[in-house]
C-alpha cells in the first residue's frame, strides 16, 4: 500500500523515526484545526513539525460536507438556490446569480438589460464584502486587529443593501429565473450611493495601515508563494491566480451579465505570495467600485425580470389576488414546468475564483446532475506545498490569504 494512503500519523511515524536516527532531532505532529481560530472554518491540517518549521502536511476536509449535489438532484430548481447561498457565504449573491444564469442558459432566456446591470451591481458589492473579510482577517491573523474592526462595519453596510433588495442579509437567496423578485427601491439605491461615498476613504486608510506596514510586510512577503505555472496546474483561479501573475478573469474572458459594457482593470501580482494576494484583493475592491459606479450611471430603465411566466415566480401580492398568478406559482413551486433536456456549464467570477455550475437536465423537475466547481476545493490542495519549509505562523497567514471558505470547500 502506498504511504500516501496511510493516515498522516502513521505515515509521519516513519519519517519521525528516520529523522531521529539521523540527527537526533525530534519531529512532532501538530493538528492545526479542525476547529481553530486561524482555520476560519472546520477543516484540519495535520502538520509534521521540526520545531516551528513545517516539514510536511496534509489537509483533511469534509467536516461540514452536506451533500449539496445529492440534495440538488432531489429538489426542484427554485429550491436549489438556498444551497448555493451556503457555499461561499461571504458573497452569496454571486452564487445565487451564477445559478440563475446557469438555468437561464439552459432555458435560452435573455434577461433585460436592467436586470443584467442590477446583477452586476450586487455581484460587485458581494465581491467587495468578500475581499473586506479576507483582507481584514489576514490583518487579524498577522496581529493587526484594528483594521478588521475598522472596515468590518462596511460589510454590514453591504448586508443592509442586500436586506433592502431581498430581505435577507447573509444567505440571500436573491433573485429569480429571469430577474429579481421586485425592482430595487429608492432606499436601496440611496444605501448604495452612501456606501460608495463613505467606503473609499476608509479603504484607503485600511490600505495605508497595512500595505507599507513593516511588520505586515515582513509577515507576508515571500510567505506561502506559488509560481504561476504551479498555480495553473493546480487549477487556481481568481485573486490567488492573479497574484501569481496570470490575468485570468472570467468577467473578461467570458463576459456574462453585460460585464463587457464596463471598463475595469484586472489587477495582477508577481510573486504569488501572501502579500501579493492581499494587494490583488485590495486593488480589486477599487475596480469593483469603479464597475458599480458605471453600472449606476448607465442603469437602463425597463422591466426587472424577463417575461417568462413558465419559470418566473409571480410577485407575492399577485399570488394572493390573481388566479393566474396563483396557478403559475403553484406549478413552478411544485416543479411542474421542467427544464428541457440539456447540458450546460456556466462559470462566474466568484469572490475567490471561477465558480462553475455544471448542470445536466433530463426533462424532469430536478437536475439529473448538478456539479459545483468550487474554487476553494480546487486550490486548497496546494496549501501544503505552499507552506512546506515555512514557519507555523506563515501557514496561518498563507491560509488566511487563500480565502478558503469551509462552506464552499466541502459543499
Amino acid at each position: 500500500m502506498s504511504d500516501l494512503l496511510l493516515p498522516p500519523e502513521e505515515r509521519y511515524a516513519k519519517i519521525i523515526k528516520q529523522r531521529q536516527n539521523e540527527d537526533g532531532s525530534e519531529l512532532a505532529i501538530l493538528n492545526l484545526g479542525p476547529t481553530h481560530p486561524a482555520t476560519h472554518g472546520i477543516f484540519q491540517n495535520i502538520l509534521l513539525m521540526d520545531g516551528e518549521r513545517i516539514v510536511d502536511g496534509e489537509g483533511t476536509v469534509g467536516y461540514i460536507h452536506r451533500a449539496f449535489e445529492k440534495i440538488a438532484e432531489n429538489r426542484p430548481f427554485y429550491q436549489i438556490t438556498p444551497l448555493t447561498d451556503r457555499m461561499n457565504y461571504c458573497s452569496s449573491p454571486i452564487n445565487n446569480m451564477g445559478w440563475w444564469m446557469t438555468l437561464e442558459k439552459a432555458l435560452d432566456i435573455e434577461v433585460p438589460k436592467r436586470v443584467q446591470y442590477l446583477r452586476v451591481i450586487v455581484m460587485e458589492l458581494a465581491r467587495i464584502a468578500d475581499h473586506i473579510i479576507c483582507n481584514s482577517v489576514l490583518g487579524v491573523d498577522t496581529g493587526a486587529l484594528t483594521g478588521f474592526l475598522y472596515v468590518f462595519q462596511y460589510r454590514e453596510k453591504i448586508y443592509e443593501i442586500y436586506e433592502e433588495i431581498c430581505g435577507a442579509r447573509l444567505t440571500t437567496n436573491m433573485g429569480r429565473i429571469g430577474g429579481f423578485e421586485r425592482d430595487w427601491s429608492p432606499a436601496a439605491f440611496k444605501k448604495i450611493n452612501d456606501f460608495l461615498e463613505e467606503f473609499p476613504p476608509i479603504w484607503t486608510e485600511f490600505e495605508n495601515l497595512l500595505m507599507r506596514n513593516r511588520i505586515f510586510m515582513d509577515r507576508t512577503i515571500d510567505v506561502g508563494p506559488i509560481s504561476a505555472e504551479r498555480a495553473m496546474s493546480y487549477g487556481f483561479t481568481g485573486p490567488n491566480l492573479r497574484a501569481a501573475g496570470i490575468d485570468y478573469d472570467v468577467r473578461v474572458m467570458q463576459p456574462y451579465s453585460s460585464y463587457e459594457d464596463f471598463e475595469f482593470d484586472v489587477p495582477v501580482g508577481k510573486s504569488g505570495d501572501t502579500y501579493d494576494r492581499f494587494c490583488v484583493r485590495s486593488a480589486e475592491v477599487w475596480e469593483s467600485i469603479k464597475i458599480i459606479k458605471q453600472a449606476l450611471a448607465k442603469l437602463p430603465e425597463g422591466p426587472f425580470h424577463a417575461n417568462v411566466p413558465d419559470y418566473y415566480l409571480p410577485p407575492k401580492e399577485e399570488v394572493y389576488t390573481n388566479m393566474e398568478a396563483l396557478i403559475y406559482h403553484f406549478k413552478i413551486v411544485m416543479g411542474e414546468v421542467p427544464v428541457p433536456k440539456t447540458e450546460v456549464y456556466h462559470p462566474v467570477e466568484g469572490g475567490n475564483g471561477e465558480l462553475g455550475f455544471y448542470l445536466i437536465t433530463d426533462g424532469s423537475r430536478t437536475p439529473f446532475r448538478l456539479h459545483f466547481r468550487r474554487p476553494c476545493f480546487i486550490y486548497y490542495q496546494a496549501f501544503n506545498e505552499m507552506v512546506r519549509g515555512q514557519m507555523l505562523s506563515d501557514a496561518i497567514a498563507t491560509l488566511s490569504s487563500l480565502n478558503v471558505i469551509a462552506g464552499e470547500l466541502d459543499a
Binding site: 502506498s2 500516501l4 494512503l5 476536509v61 469534509g62 460536507h65 451533500a67 449535489e69 445529492k70 440534495i71 438532484e73 432531489n74 429538489r75 426542484p76 429550491q79 442558459k105 439552459a106 504551479r230 495553473m232 496546474s233 493546480y234 487549477g235 485570468y248 474572458m253 467570458q254 411544485m334 416543479g335 421542467p338 440539456t342 447540458e343 450546460v344 456549464y345 462559470p347 471561477e354 462553475g356 455544471y358 445536466i360 433530463d362 424532469s364 423537475r365 430536478t366 439529473f368 446532475r369 456539479h371 466547481r373 476545493f377 480546487i378 486550490y379 486548497y380 490542495q381 496546494a382 466541502d410
Partner: protein, 176 residues
C-alpha cells in the same frame, strides 16, 4: 484566429480515430466522447498540442447513468479551457457499470488530484495510478458511493410523508 470546433474535431479524429466520437455543440461548449482506455493520452494531446493548447483543467466530475447499457453507466466529465484562444470543451469518458476504471490525470494536472478523489468518493470510479485514491469528503468507514442513483437521499422506510408531493422522489422518471 479563434480555434474553431471543426479544427478541434479534425485534429482529434486525425490523431485518435475512433477513440474520439460524438462531437456535438451543446449551447456554448463543444462536447465529445473519448474511449476510457485512451482518455489520458487524449487529454495529454489536448494539453500539449501546439494548436489545441487546452492548458487548464477546469473541472472533473462523475455522472451516473443507471439506465444506460452496462458499458456506459458511468461517465467522467472533464471541462478543459484553452486560455490563449479562450475556448472551452467538455470531454466525456463512459465507463463500465461493474468496473468503472479510468487512468488518472494527475500526471498532467496537479489539480486533478482532489477532484478525482471526490469523484471516487461519490461514485466509486477508480482512477488508476492516482497517488492517493481515498475518500475525501465522506468518512473512510463508509461503504456506499452516495451519489450513485441507487442510493436514495432519504430513508425509504419513512411513512410520515409522501415524497412525491414534495418533488423528492428518488426516481425522477416517476414524477411524470
Amino acid at each position: 484566429m479563434a480555434l474553431e470546433s471543426a479544427v478541434i474535431e479534425d485534429k482529434l479524429t486525425g490523431a485518435f480515430g475512433d477513440n474520439v466520437s460524438g462531437f456535438v455543440q451543446i449551447k456554448d461548449i463543444l462536447s465529445f466522447e473519448v474511449q476510457a482506455d485512451n482518455a489520458n493520452a487524449i487529454l495529454q494531446y489536448l494539453k500539449e498540442d501546439a494548436l489545441l493548447r487546452f492548458n487548464f483543467l477546469t473541472d472533473v466530475c462523475g455522472v451516473h447513468y443507471p439506465d444506460n447499457e452496462k458499458e456506459r453507466q458511468f461517465a467522467v466529465v472533464y471541462h478543459m479551457h484553452n486560455w490563449m484562444d479562450n475556448v472551452r470543451i467538455r470531454v466525456k469518458a463512459y465507463l463500465n457499470g461493474d468496473t468503472p476504471e479510468i487512468d488518472t490525470a494527475t500526471n498532467l494536472f496537479l489539480g486533478a488530484n482532489w477532484q478525482e478523489r471526490e469523484t471516487y468518493d461519490f461514485y466509486g470510479i477508480i482512477f488508476k495510478g492516482h497517488p492517493q485514491l481515498k475518500r475525501i469528503l465522506n468518512m473512510d468507514e463508509m461503504e456506499s458511493f452516495p451519489m450513485r442513483k441507487e442510493f436514495p437521499m432519504e430513508d425509504g422506510g419513512r411513512t410520515d410523508k409522501d415524497d412525491r408531493f414534495f418533488g423528492r422522489s428518488t426516481d425522477n422518471a416517476l414524477n411524470f
